[in-house]
């Protein structure tokens, strides 16, 4: 146990022909904090899930706790000493701290749980992670930071030797993040091997002894020892954007390999099907707010070359979206404008309020103040139906919970909102429906374009195309398209197609596009202009040549340091959705997740 605590060799994993991990090597010795960086979809979470036993790798070995495994079961992973702290914590709110720590490994005495002994040991563990809560506190009443420490304490109680932290500070306030960093340093001196997944370069600079950057499932950069230059890391993360719009120049790119990208990844502008970069990057907007000052000194000036800077407001001039002082629980006031045909990104971390802004616009949450205008009409959406009537549509972030009907056919999924508008005298117009489906399947590049196939049988990318396709079927006057993390869980090829569809919606139909993303690459690829969101407010704006991944990473880093109001929206947004203005629950629908394995029969289950 003197050398490597964790050694991964040649780990490869593919999903439906798409390589998520391609021969990844990763060695983490005892007492090392190893930062794992990369974009969404770069393979970080696949790596973690292979390590935790959620996915069996296709090939490669995982060596942990002195034993080598071809694949791990979740239980083997725990016994081998791996502990993974996910962003969405797996503590049970209703139980106390010590009950959580000993969940599944309770100490018993004469058949009864030995509460006293547990609490004593728990107190020791909590002290080790410098948690301030008591073993008897109910976890549900603790702030996020403390809950996280409880989970780390739980890992320690299982004598974990490898600790994986998945974006641990994403839902924490600044003070909590600092405290966590100290804990990580403590645990390092206690000899744990720590894999630290993050988007924030400042955390890497502070904590990491070694860095691995993943890109498209491969290692784009790997280095040991402090003093990694930020520009190198950013270049490695960014690599060559598949879109070709951004050339991440400047610093030496870690490993800019010319991967054999499929046809779909060719520069979108070169494609014959018309993605004229209309309204690309209006540059007349100067930098606003906190975003730029830091951006300039820490990052190299990157040459971004928009094809033709066109003034904002192309497309239908009056058709845009205007928010004035929009407020709601956890965010606001937010004032912004998106012209018809313009694509604006909302960049921010989880908990920054970007999802709330979009959901409030869509009538999913109630606004407490401010006005929303589409064109010259004021829209007060109390429910999604109102927003849709005003021409506002949303592609939600959580596809499985909020977007998809897994057991229903592709046809039903894509046409659901259109069935009634198309119908005549209360009877479905099946012929028209079929034509609309064929048109939209072609427009989004659905594969396979089989209307009767259940949505669950499609890949994540094609599922997203179905959800997106729902709003582009020409039966509605789509004035404003909102997208929340439009390519989460979407493979690289489908991602490009989704970008293409969104671009052509803006360019050809003058739709105002407002999308939220935590992926800087996505923002740079898709947005004409980007608003940086932190603590429920717009804290900066980047456009034109300033809109680079480096600038975004710096901006959000500064925003999270300066904005103490982050705490107000600290709990992860997606988890408290159901409690918000959720449609009042029925029977037990919410408790039974829709059967979503492809094998679940659509009919015939008793």
């Amino acid at each position: 146990m003197t050398e490597a605590s964790l050694r991964i060799r040649g780990l490869t994993k593919s999903f439906g022909g798409v390589l998520a991990l391609d021969g990844v090597d990763l060695t983490v010795p005892m007492g090392q904090v190893h930062a794992l960086l990369g974009h969404n979809g770069a393979g970080k979470s696949t790596l973690i899930k292979c390590l935790g036993g959620a996915y069996p790798p296709d090939s490669g070995t995982i060596e942990v706790g002195g034993r080598s495994y071809e694949r791990l079961s979740p239980r083997e992973s725990i016994t081998a000493g791996v502990a993974i702290i996910f962003q969405t914590l797996s503590v049970v709110d209703a139980l106390t701290v010590s009950e959580n720590i000993f969940l599944g490994q309770e100490w018993t005495r004469y058949g009864r749980i030995d509460r006293r002994a547990q609490e004593k040991v728990a107190a020791g563990l909590l002290e080790r992670v410098a948690a301030t809560c008591s073993p008897r506190d109910r976890v549900g009443e603790l702030p996020m930071g403390q809950r996280q420490l409880v989970e780390i304490a739980k890992a320690l109680s299982r004598s974990a030797s490898v600790l994986v932290l998945d974006e641990p500070t994403a839902a924490l306030s600044t003070a909590e993040s600092d405290a966590l960093a100290e804990r990580v340093e403590d645990l390092r001196t206690q000899g744990l091997a720590i894999v630290y997944v993050t988007h924030l370069l400042a955390e890497v600079e502070r904590l990491a002894d070694a860095v691995t950057v993943l890109r498209d499932g491969r290692i784009a950069h790997q280095s040991v020892g402090a003093g990694q230059r930020r520009r190198d890391l950013v270049a490695a993360i960014a690599g060559r954007t598949a879109d070709g719009e951004t050339e991440a120049g400047g610093g030496p790119v870690g490993d800019r390999r010319a991967t054999n990208l499929p046809d779909a990844d060719r520069p979108a502008g070169d494609r014959p099907d018309g993605n004229r970069p209309v309204g690309d990057r209006p540059v007349e907007d100067g930098p606003v707010g906190a975003a730029s000052p830091g951006a300039t000194d820490t990052t190299p000036r990157v040459t971004t070359s928009p094809a033709t800077p066109v003034a904002r407001g192309v497309g239908s001039p009056g058709g845009g979206l205007v928010l004035e002082g929009l407020r709601g629980p956890g965010f606001g006031p937010v004032t912004l404008a998106v012209a018809g045909g313009e694509r604006v990104g909302l960049y921010g971390l989880i908990g920054s309020g970007r999802t709330r802004i979009l959901e409030t616009l869509y009538g999913r949450r109630r606004a407490s103040g401010g006005t929303v205008r589409v064109g010259d009409r004021t829209v007060a959406a109390a429910r999604p139906g109102d927003a849709l009537a005003a021409g506002i549509a949303l592609v939600p972030a959580d596809r499985r919970r909020q977007g998809l009907f897994p057991t229903l056919s592709a046809h039903d999924n894509a046409l659901l909102p259109a069935v009634r508008p198309l119908s005549r005298y209360g009877v479905r117009a099946l012929g028209a429906e079929r034509r609309v489906f064929e048109a939209l399947a072609g427009a989004v590049g659905l594969r396979p374009a089989r209307p009767r196939l259940p949505a669950a049988s499609f890949s994540g990318g094609n599922q997203q195309k179905l959800v997106l396709g729902r709003w582009i079927n020409h039966t509605r006057d789509l004035r404003v398209l909102l997208l929340d993390e439009p390519t989460q869980g979407v493979d690289v090829g489908a991602r490009q197609e989704i970008y293409r569809v969104v671009r052509s919606l803006a360019a050809d139909r003058g739709t105002a596009v407002l999308f939220a993303s935590s992926d800087p690459e996505e923002i740079v690829t898709l947005a004409d202009r980007c608003l940086v969101v932190a603590g429920g407010r717009v804290v900066g704006e980047l456009s034109g040549a300033e809109l680079t991944e480096e600038a975004l990473l710096s901006a959000v880093h500064e925003a999270s340091e300066t904005s103490a109001s982050c705490e107000t929206s600290a709990p992860t947004e997606t988890s408290d959705l159901s409690k918000a203005s959720a449609p009042s629950g029925a029977a037990d629908v919410s408790e039974t997740p829709p059967a979503h394995e492809p094998s679940a029969p659509a009919e015939g289950a008793v």
């Binding site: 869509y362 999913r364 429910r383 999604p384 139906g385 927003a387 849709l388 949303l394 939600p396 919970r401 909020q402 977007g403 998809l404 009907f405 897994p406 057991t407 229903l408 056919s409 046809h411 039903d412 659901l416 909102p417 069935v419 009634r420 119908s423 209360g426 009877v427 479905r428 099946l430 012929g431 429906e433 079929r434 089989r450 209307p451 009767r452 729902r470 159901s578 959720a582 449609p583 009042s584 629950g585 029925a586 029977a587 037990d588 629908v589 919410s590 039974t592 829709p594 059967a595 094998s599 679940a600 029969p601 659509a602 009919e603 015939g604 289950a605 008793v606």
Partner: protein, 326 residues
């Protein structure tokens, strides 16, 4: 699978049958085997008179099972139909006994059923209470109300009212004709109306349906009302057939029989899947089973055991059967 990829053929396949239908509804095979066994062992199971008897018995079941199935597909449930059936029959019978015209009497009964359904619907769809709890409570409450309103058995509803249960339309008993209409209407609703699609969408994923701009309350509410009306209609038919009805026992246990038929027919209790053809099969299966076992002089409690075991066996089959059939 040459034409099966088109949504257009779904209703056609439903009508025409075909191997795919059998595969989706293994109950067809079970039903056929059971009919064969009963015919061989009794020699009289397939007599027209007996089949007519089965159809008449199964008719009231089908009338309630179809709207209940729609409700279950949309993710809800109605356990109160047994008591609603009793109340509907009592109100209709009482009005007929008071000398009202049969039409007014039946409409009165249906109105009572609609009222019960509306209460269920408001509480479950608009207030968001658990359908299981609400309708379980209503099962008891409506039974109590019926007994309070009609403490004594009612009988002698007059020849006009007897028409509902006893007359024949083109040689077919009126309840069977009504059941046929309900079945066809249910199938058409699911396949050919926008609301029919919404029922599935709401049952599969309410949140996603809501975010798609669908009114997720109105359709299930309407289904609650329709289910109440259907239960009351079944009650009126039963009262008409028997020319009497008793508040305490009419329709007792009916809710579970209907639910059994619905679930046997392949409607998932979790919502989001099911078909009217399946419901028809479930109803016929229960009707045939009961009839056949009665012909064989099997005691009632054995019949009940058979019925219950069939449901569990069906569930086990669906759970463990290889999922190759699609």
């Amino acid at each position: 699978m040459t034409t099966a990829d088109s949504v257009l053929v779904r209703p056609r396949a439903l009508a025409a049958g075909g191997l795919g239908t059998v595969r989706r509804h293994p109950l067809i095979v079970v039903l056929a085997v059971m009919v064969l066994v009963f015919q061989v062992s009794t020699g009289s199971f397939l007599d027209p008179a007996n089949l007519r008897g089965i159809a008449t018995d199964a008719a009231t079941l089908a009338i309630v099972a179809v709207p209940l199935a729609l409700l279950v597909i949309s993710g809800y449930l109605d356990l109160s139909v047994g008591s609603t059936l009793a109340l509907g029959g009592l109100v209709a019978g009482w009005l007929a006994g008071q000398g009202q015209s049969p039409v007014v009497a039946v409409l009165g009964g249906l109105a009572a059923g609609a009222a019960v359904g509306a209460v269920n619907g408001v509480l479950c769809c608009y207030f968001g209470l658990s359908a299981f709890i609400v309708t379980l409570g209503m099962l008891t409450a409506v039974r109590g109300l019926a007994q309070q309103l009609f403490p004594l058995p009612l009988s002698g509803f007059g020849s006009g009212f007897a028409w509902l249960g006893g007359s024949r339309i083109a040689g077919i008993a009126a309840p069977v004709v009504i059941a046929g209409v309900v079945l066809v209407a249910g199938a058409l609703f699911l396949a050919f109306t926008p609301a029919g699609r919404h029922v599935f969408a709401i049952g599969v994923n309410r949140e996603a349906a809501y975010l798609s701009g669908i009114s997720i309350r109105r359709t299930p509410f309407a289904l609650f009302v329709v289910t109440g009306v259907a239960a009351a209609l079944a009650g009126a038919i039963k009262a008409s057939v028997l020319d009497s009805t008793v508040a305490g026992t009419s329709g007792a246990g009916f809710e579970l029989t209907v639910l059994t038929a619905v679930l046997l027919g392949g409607v998932a209790l979790t919502g989001g899947s099911g078909s009217v053809l399946g419901v028809l099969l479930g109803v016929l299966f229960l009707g045939s089973l009961q009839n056949g076992l009665t012909l064989l002089d099997v005691p009632t409690f054995w019949q009940q055991m058979a019925q219950g075991s069939a449901l569990v066996a069906g569930a086990a089959l669906a759970h463990f059967a290889p999922r190759a059939g699609r």
